[in-house]
Symmetry: C2
Subunit: 480 residues, 2 copies
């Protein structure tokens, strides 16, 4: 052994050089965040894509050179969602404080799957805060996950566990047909969760919704018919903020129906759940979440927390644990030392190794607090209303759906036929993305591909709405 | 609308104060990483746990004060896996460059679920690098995930998709009994994946293994019996580095058997897959991974990348896509602009919103390169061998299992009965954790709870092994 050269680890050989380069990079990062308006999305040039390649012989780049490359080749090519006029899909903005929390997270390098250390306690503190905002009881459990898609899987797994009993994990599905009920605007992640869990997307029974949400009678009839046909109705999923048009189901009504039918009531509140922090009238849209058996929502969307961070709350901890807890010998807890502490988050989900999502939420809450985050959410609802008013006043534009909270879906020229409207709207979206003015995404509504703004952006001010809409109108008149 | 006060967003009001505080924090983070040996795990005092709580009225903490709190209340309470004598469970060490990559990631705040931006190209570059190291063909696909637990779910879902056909996602499981085969040291995450997918953990057929791995005849017989009983054999899972003792299955043999039986061959290489970067004789343990239909492994363990970052590689992209791709109208790709680019990573897994895991791998590879990472892995194998030699030479200590690569499992005093050995080993683990000397975890072997070191720590030098083992011997003589 002694004849071998000793390996000196992967720490920097020159800490001074590392420190200098890191401070240089920090300044560049702060500059970029402080001038977010100057950094819209831009396409990634072919030369940059090539520069990202990693030949086997790569490596050995000095830290100063690496930082120079990060500044030139990486920082300019983000998703663009930090820009004040980014309204695409539902992308949160992030926070300058993300720099602070992520430096600490990288230094700690904690594995938050369990055991007895600071970041486990911090995650409990964050979940307890979220639990209170959502009106869940103290007996609820929760876990931070990548996002709502992941959270939906966990919640439905807990519901399935309750229905199929303690031996389900051992035996698996044995031909039972479990059905789940949701409105027609339910998010695709629900379909994907049904597939992953082996339940089948056809067993997601989609109930036609009107502007007032589900028709409860229709839903009851469907459940009864499924039961008569031998299915096992499992859960009703309410949507708090549909991804296409931002609509909210009547969550209280669904909660009542779920209780009557002895079904699990899950709420998909990916972004919409956070209206509970907003002013009225928006706050009231979230009423009923407190009655759910489980909730999925994201911190990285409408709480502006850096990617990624979602939440799964389960009303009765026992179903959460029943669905996931499982510790073999090498993970047994001990009374003291690092193997202590309980619960371990690995008992509440799929992941055994888990990064640090709690710290960035904690830092944001310490810095801004519940009230200021609520003001930002309220400001986004006002911005969407402003956009809706602008469109309603325009001679050729038309809303595809009334603005409910923070989503605004519209067509730029309602006088054309459906195909021409779609082509125009797509052209406008692409043109404004490419020239860096604003990012709208698109969605189909009654056969027309429309422009869609989802405003979950704390940098968006009234002037940004004005600039973006004037640009849409200008392009609509040019791109004929 | 104009009567409302304008909300000014969540950017710092005072960028100078923010900049000063962030630089101050960066110095503290660098200091802590540079003096990793002075920062072992320590218990979290009750006052600190209290300080983490988030009352609704929290918020408004000035950035300088927040940084002071992070330094005093957060930085001291990590998992301790950055310390050179942390050998518990299988926890990677992280890298100083994590500071650099996470600052950039927080600044970009990219959503890596898809679309056309830099971090999507970077993730493809990282996966292409990993694909080459693992000997997968160019046609393979891959995705970065939280860790191997998550990756196992994706891989088995792809296998299930291949077996059950194109309408499976629509119809779900309909009473088919899918069986999976693995050695008795298969990781618990495989059991959990079976449960989540609705397959049932009883349908994980555990094959007794000897020191040479599976007995292929026994496995063939089991598969034939299951087929005769109406089951649908789905997959063989080989383990590259078992979590209890660090053993490697005969992956080539299993690959051959899987091909003969037309089963999917998956490799769980959570940490062990990376022996492919090490020197011989360890490198050869990973032979056969290149024959797998899918591979799960982690970057945050034996590649030292900050938490969390795992990998799922699928040999034939079509099964990966068949299992997960699904894009409704609002996610439709467009030819140009931000909605361009293909594939989108959301088509390869559960998550639609995805944080940035690629950048930290890319930065590490640019900085250190394939060869230096291989040297670190080799040094860990040498350290485990050194520990094994030390134990073999000790009068009362005894290895529970030969050291294969980086794991060393032993009892501190083999003269006692099983209960007394277990009690002693647990006491030693706790004592050394609490006094900050070293972190061993524990695992049961033939009725004895043993001490277990998993060395995936680039800071561990020969002197650290010596210090840790002398401390074990000292405590063994004290804690009677």
């Amino acid at each position: 052994m002694t004849s071998e050269p000793e390996f000196c680890g992967l720490d920097p050989k020159d800490w001074t050089a590392f420190r200098t380069a890191a401070h240089d990079l920090l300044d560049a990062c702060i500059d970029q965040i402080a001038k977010a308006e100057s950094h819209p999305w831009q396409p990634v040039p072919e030369a940059i894509r090539e520069a990202y390649r990693l030949p086997d012989a790569a490596g050995g780049v000095e830290i100063a050179e690496l930082v120079a490359r990060l500044k030139a080749e990486v920082l300019p090519y983000g998703t663009g969602n930090t820009h004040p006029r980014f309204f695409g899909w539902v992308h949160g903005t992030g926070l300058a404080e993300g720099l602070v929390s992520e430096m600490v997270a990288a230094t700690l390098n904690s594995n938050c799957g369990g055991r007895d250390h600071g970041m486990v306690y911090m995650e409990r503190a964050v979940i307890d805060w979220a639990r209170r905002q959502m009106g869940f009881p103290k007996t609820a459990s929760g876990i931070l996950v990548a996002g709502t898609s992941q959270s939906m899987v966990l919640a439905l797994a807990a519901a399935r566990q309750r229905m199929l009993g303690s031996d389900f994990r051992a035996r698996g599905l044995q031909g039972e047909r479990l059905t789940v009920y949701a409105g027609e605007e339910a998010h695709n992640s629900l379909h994907k969760a049904m597939e992953l869990l082996g339940l089948g997307r056809n067993n997601l029974r989609v109930v036609p919704t009107t502007s007032g949400g589900f028709d409860p009678d229709q839903l009851s009839t469907l459940i009864a018919d499924d039961r008569a046909a031998g299915a096992l109705p499992l859960a009703i999923v309410g949507t708090a903020g549909s991804v296409d048009f931002g609509r909210f189901d009547d969550l209280r009504g669904l909660a009542t129906l779920a209780r009557q039918e002895d079904l699990w009531f899950h709420v998909d509140g990916a972004f919409g759940a956070w209206v509970r922090l907003a002013d009225q009238p928006w706050r009231n849209l979230g009423a009923g979440i407190e009655l759910a058996d489980s909730l999925s929502c994201d911190f990285h969307k409408w709480m502006y927390i850096p990617y990624d961070c979602g939440l799964c709350l389960i009303r009765e901890e026992k179903w959460h644990r029943a669905a996931f807890a499982s510790r073999p010998s090498y993970l047994e807890g001990l009374e003291t030392g690092l193997a202590g502490g309980d619960p371990w988050f690995c008992d509440y989900g799929i992941d055994l190794s888990r990064g640090n999502r709690a710290l960035k939420v904690w830092v944001a809450l310490q810095s801004h607090g519940t009230a200021a985050l609520g003001q930002a959410i309220t400001a986004n609802c006002r911005a969407a209303a402003q956009m809706g008013t602008w469109i309603a006043a325009h001679p050729t534009m038309k809303l595809a759906s009334p603005v409910v909270a923070n989503l605004c879906v519209f067509t730029a020229d309602s006088r054309r036929n459906a195909a021409a409207q779609s082509a125009l709207n797509i052209s406008i979206a692409q043109k404004l993305q490419l020239d860096g003015t604003a990012v709208f995404s698109t969605v189909k509504s009654r056969g027309v591909t429309c422009l869609r703004a989802a405003i979950t952006n704390h940098r968006t001010r009234p002037a940004d709405i004005q600039i973006a809409m004037e640009a849409v109108a200008r392009e609509a008149s040019i791109l004929v």
